[in-house]
Amino acid sequence: MLLEVDDVSRHFGGVLANQNISLTVAEGEILGLIGPNGAGKSTLFNIIAGALKPSEGRIRFRGEDITGRGPSDCCERGIARTFQVVKSFEAMTVIENVMIGAFCRTNSERLARGVAREVIEWTGLDSRRDALAAELTPPEKRRLEVARALATRPKLLLLDEVLAGLTPIEAQAGVRLVRDIHARGIAVLMVEHVMEVLMPLVDRVVVLNLGKLLAEGRPADIVRNEEVIAAYLGEKFRARA
């Protein structure tokens, strides 16, 4: 198992955002994390990424306990993430942005630039290589987020609603990118709301509701799960299944 979330809980004051959640991500797997708003997805996401500490429970990555380690530590160990609200380095160019990620694995500017160039090419940002991040369109910025994270050579990539608000064409391009990432053996954990795009893409799905784990399994099973439908998916999906 690449990632093991073991009985994790997290409360903020009186609010229990995550309650006894356990899940796993295998090497090279694509896991979807879904659930209604307020279900605790972001909290869990941030805990895995190291931006939040769990109140209880443990997180293991590649066999090592990483509970409570900070974001930079997690990144070094091979967990990279994107932000729902894109956080580019506006004053730096696209390649410089990606180089920041690349520097995670090397101290040499030359090597970092090389890695960055390579990542930029296969994520399709080559045409904007020397543009300032501030000049990019929102979908391009999102792609930059992903490219930057990829430059850190992660084993697990955490994507936070990267497919939200995209036109169908952009969404398809996004799916292709995730598939490419998958093809390179990088495991992906995606938080998403866009079911039509997510279900065909992922290997497994985890559903959160009200801070607890509601269901877990293959997409085909999840869309038939009565509880999930009631809580989140709605009748539309039941009819499809």
Partner: protein
């Protein structure tokens, strides 16, 4: 063919080194020396404030530490100021780390205020510290012309070349580091600390490194200044005004750029010295007004500073030719 990077640096250095040939009047030589001094000081400030984004308005503390360290070592224990400079710089760096440790958890204006408070505390401490001369300060007696003692009376030129050397070294350091991982990481910390962290940047560590480097060089400049003016007291090296003065050239010339501090210093220092000399008593405060107005103008109209302005003009002149992406400036 556009000149940039190292070749440009070399060309400027050549000009600077040759300058005294054309400038013989000690008054103007003094201006040159001060300009070079503030170039160096502001370049040091730029490391922490411009690249790393941690605006410090308490640099006078390091300036003063450097000055006092080398002066006390020289006047009381006969240690050569050349060595004293290094020690002063090191001590300043240590203090910088000590100050940074609690302060770097603050962001934005909170950090700025903290630097001001720390520097003011330092000022008050030195003002009341009898062993260090308290308010009367320390006078450096002239022991004879000597490079080791770094004292010269017949000519200002050795001082000039001394400070130019310091400024040049600092410039090279900035140039090298801007291209290195450190420079990139600093800019990431400035641009978006959360994102930087998620990409593996250990923010605290890099802030501390910037603080240490900045403080070190500021301290060295302090030592130089002490030897140059032969007298120091809290009011001349540790005040808030001094801290502000250190930061201004970078703000004017372009925060976070390689040439910003130099450009800013070249504009600010001669102007203020000349204004003060020619307007004297009646024009008191005029130099402040001009400073203030310039800073405001830059901050509102062109936050990238004069260097940004130059870059814009270049872009327009080159008719769409892209500036090199890895200029680092």
């Amino acid at each position: 063919m556009r000149l940039q990077g190292l070749p440009l640096g070399a060309a400027v250095l050549a000009l600077v080194l040759a300058a005294p040939l054309g400038v013989r009047d000690p008054f103007f030589q003094n201006i040159l020396i001060l300009t070079a001094l503030y170039t160096a000081l502001s370049q040091a400030w730029n490391l922490l404030g411009g690249y790393c984004g941690q605006v410090s308005l308490g640099q006078a503390l390091f300036f003063g530490i450097g000055a006092y360290t080398s002066t006390i070592l020289f006047t009381r224990y006969g240690v050569s100021p050349l060595l004293g400079m290094m020690l002063g710089g090191l001590l300043a760096a240590l203090v910088g780390l000590a100050v940074g440790w609690p302060c770097f958890r603050l962001r934005g204006h909170y950090f700025v205020i903290a630097t001001i408070v720390v520097a003011e505390t330092g000022y008050l401490l030195f003002l009341n510290w009898d062993w260090a001369g308290a308010a009367t300060g320390i006078l450096i007696p002239f022991k004879g012309e000597s490079i080791v003692d770094f004292q010269f009376q017949t000519s200002k030129l050795p001082f000039y070349y001394g400070i130019v050397t310091i400024a040049a070294v600092l410039w090279l350091f900035s140039y090298w580091i801007a291209r290195s991982k450190w420079g990139f990481y600093w800019r990431a910390v400035r641009g978006n600390p959360d994102a930087a962290e998620s990409l593996g940047v250990r923010i605290f560590r890099y802030k501390m490194a910037a603080a240490a480097a900045s403080a070190f060089f500021t301290g060295i400049c302090g030592s130089f200044y002490a030897q140059y003016v032969s007298y120091i007291d809290p009011d001349s090296v540790l005040t808030f005004n001094q801290s502000v003065l250190i930061s201004l050239p970078s703000v004017l010339g372009g925060i976070g750029t390689l040439w910003g501090p130099a450009v800013g210093a070249v504009v600010l220092i001669p102007m203020s010295e000349l204004v003060r000399a020619y307007l004297g008593g009646t024009g008191q405060g005029t130099d402040l007004i001009i400073y203030g107005a310039l800073i405001m103008a830059v901050a509102t109209l062109k936050p990238e500073g004069l260097c940004g302005l130059i870059a814009d003009l270049r872009k327009r002149g080159g008719r769409g030719a892209r500036p090199a992406a890895d200029e680092g400036a």
